[in-house]
Symmetry: C2
Subunit: 184 residues, 2 copies
């Protein structure tokens, strides 16, 4: 049962959701089989190297998502910087379900995650940082100021997600998004 025909992006989206909820080690093949509606053996047809490859493909999927949904809009010089910032923050707010769900970046940093996966995680963070630095400059900030604001943006997002989930209060994340909007 489950989805009859599952496109690759749909499958990666399911894997992303599961990895975010349970982490790399916490997510088992049985759980994946259940979530995708496929048998365990079938999963190896799509990902011959197993869970490591799934995590790797998910992170590449996320990196591509960041590219198209964050970096392209954030660099669109045709739109005023303030509007671009609001748009990107709204996208992130949806991605994190208003602060209710963890970030993959955060879940893929445990000691048992394959180094290749951590490599993509690093690239994702670097890309996001570059994006916000670029946006800061479009706001008229100096290079140094833009770097600082970009760093505080990433820290604020990740940190508020942690505190929100630990306190079971998405208000923390919500407030942080507002604060970030006023950084620039």
């Amino acid at each position: 049962m489950g989805a009859l025909i599952l496109g690759r992006n749909e499958m990666l989206a399911i894997l992303l959701k599961e990895f975010r909820a349970l982490g790399f080690q916490g997510l088992s093949l049985s759980r994946i089989a259940e979530a995708t509606g496929l048998g365990k053996a079938s999963l190896y047809h799509h990902f011959p190297k197993g869970k490591d490859e799934m995590a790797l493909q998910v992170m590449k999927f996320v990196k591509d998502w960041i590219q198209s949904e964050i970096l392209i809009p954030i660099n669109d010089k045709e739109i005023p910087p303030k509007k671009r910032l609001s748009h990107v923050l709204k996208t992130l707010d949806q991605f994190y379900e208003k602060g209710a769900t963890a970030c993959v970046i955060e879940m893929m940093l445990a000691g048992d995650v394959p180094p290749s996966v951590k490599g993509i995680v690093k690239e994702c963070v670097e890309d996001l940082r570059e994006g916000f630095i670029s946006l800061g400059k479009d706001f008229g900030l100096s290079n140094d100021e833009a770097k600082k604001i970009a760093e505080q943006t990433l820290i604020g997002i990740q940190g508020s997600l942690i505190i929100s989930r630990s306190l079971n209060d998405v208000g923390v994340f919500k407030r942080q998004i507002k604060i970030i909007e006023n950084y620039f």
Copy 2:
């Protein structure tokens, strides 16, 4: 082999280190046996309910540590607030090994962590928040301002730990400690 006679606090310290590195699901009993020098069966003498109980006791241990190492010093009215802040930030800097190691709070939020454990995690964050709010007031801040600063402090610590580890650059954490020092 390993430590010949292991005190309870030493054992909890080892468990804390391992949980921080590998997370709840990622840390296996075999790994714990190796790290403590005890046989798997011996671990059940100390923690009859197994890994769940270990995680619970570790979090209680952390909560006690926060009480004695953070909250008592942060509320010591005999010492100027500025000195108290520096002292507490230095303690946290050591606890996080200058940003190189993850926070338990962060590692105990995955979907497969027992609710009882998450309950203590929540209490730890609440305690820390109260501590920094109290300190903010001693700095002369209003109640609202102290709440905001306390929240930014917790977010800044957790967020910078994530970004530091993802980028493999403890400089992010180091800078954040300085920024927090200037919040108050």
